[in-house]
Amino acid sequence: MSIYSMCYDSQACVRCFTCVVSCSVENRLRLQRNGTTSIETGVNKALPQLNYLYPIQREYGKYPKSYRITELHHCMHCENAPCASSCPSNAIERRKGGQVVIHQDLCVGCRTCQDACPFDVPIYDQHSNASYKCMMCYDRVESDLKPACVNSCIADALISGPREEVVAEARARAKRYSEQFGKEYIVYGADKINDYVGKAGWMTIVSAEEMEKYGLPKNPMVSSMVLRQTTKAFGLGASAAVALGAGAHFLYWLANRKDALAAQEKEADHE
């Protein structure tokens, strides 16, 4: 199976947030489908951890020249998935199709994935002691359906499919916008963003100058997690060096023990 990717077109989006609603609905239905809970419980409880997709509005500039930018906040399904590589219980899986999935039945609720995510995505639920995030509807995709949000989009602003097709379509759109609006549009995540995250499985078409304001950092990285890797390597190296040194010293002592003991006795006699 080739890599399955998604792209959000922030220019075509009409901000109706049908995707947000259908995401929440799908996740509640999924609870029933999985046999986790009844449909009544699923719709009666707030279950905020199931809202994998939600808008974040930020205001920039000073009134009256201020303007607002709405970010559609979601998991980027990173190629290198730092959440998955730092999960102590291997609860986070990157599927063959590229979807990064938290399996709640394997999750211990330590929230390391939250700390490792440079986009602040995983949500922790105290009741179930597990973390939740978008799974790109991998169950639907693997059954030849589109993800729920893509399925419900009225403006064709969410597209999904095999990665090559999505990237080609997204680049064509970005090129058209660049020509039409006279400023550069990019496809965030189509190419490698950095070593920490790699490419993004969920790309975004956004104007280059508004990228950071939109909530898409140029260099998404959690320095404490990078330092953690370095520290681990150092700890392992230093411990191995001490163990080897101790072994070598013990052999040295064995070889010289008799001489040393003889010398000590001599010293004692002399005294």
Partner: protein, 223 residues
């Protein structure tokens, strides 16, 4: 007649013994959380746990969860033993033997002791032991304070949390090699008298102290 010198108080010996057991469990249960290379430890906790509890869950998940609980129980016991120990030790801080001594041989004394197998001019502890003591005090404090932050992570800001995570990692990465060195020299036949003094409470011969630890001997005589 051979006079005897007491090296460690019963409380120091008890604390040392407790901390050995606790550190063993801290490291054993911390390693599988730190690195997937040690997941076998989690499995060896998780398998009996699943068997006894009759859960049909994931063994690794149960194992990691058991490790996290043991880590916290060990932390509680650590504070229970350490707070009174620090209190008692601080009362006699000017009598500690880990402060620098101007007449001591310093790092070159380590060569005399461990390469030439002779006795350097030193106090109760040589330079290596003093450095190890500083590393232990600093690293264990780092681990203890950052551990509290990580345990009650809901009460702290993300920046504090990231700092605590790094302090916990760095503290352990420094502690582990130092601990290995400490253990090696502690159980080495060269240190037989010291080992017995720490674990069996055996007193040291005054003559031995005079030849092995001349500066300490002077101190004892002065008191």
């Amino acid at each position: 007649m051979n006079k005897k010198i007491t090296a460690f108080t019963p409380f120091q010996m008890f604390y040392h013994r407790s901390i050995i057991i606790l550190i063993f469990f801290f490291i054993l249960t911390g390693l599988p959380i730190l690195s997937s290379g040690f997941h076998w430890i989690a499995y060896s906790f998780g398998f009996p746990f699943d068997f006894i509890s009759g859960q049909n869950g994931d063994t690794l998940r149960s194992g990691i969860q058991v490790c996290r609980i043991i880590h916290r129980v060990a932390a509680l016991l650590f504070f229970l033993f350490t707070v009174p120990f620090i209190g008692v030790q601080l009362l006699q801080i000017n009598k500690w033997h880990i402060w620098p001594e101007s007449e001591a041989a310093g790092l070159s004394g380590l060569k005399t002791n461990y390469i030439d197998f002779k006795h350097a001019k030193q106090g109760k502890y040589n330079a290596g032991q003093k450095i190890a003591a500083y590393v232990f005090i600093v690293c264990i404090s780092m681990l203890a304070f950052s551990g509290c932050v990580l345990w009650f992570r809901g009460s702290f800001s993300p920046a504090t949390l990231a700092l605590a995570r790094n302090l916990h990692d760095i503290g352990f990465a420094l502690l582990l090699p130092t601990l290995l060195g400490h253990m090696y020299f502690g159980i080495h036949p060269l240190n037989r008298a010291g080992f017995k003094a720490m674990f069996n409470g055996r007193e040291l011969d005054e003559a031995d102290v005079q030849s092995h630890h001349p500066l300490w001997y002077e101190k004892v005589k002065k008191d």
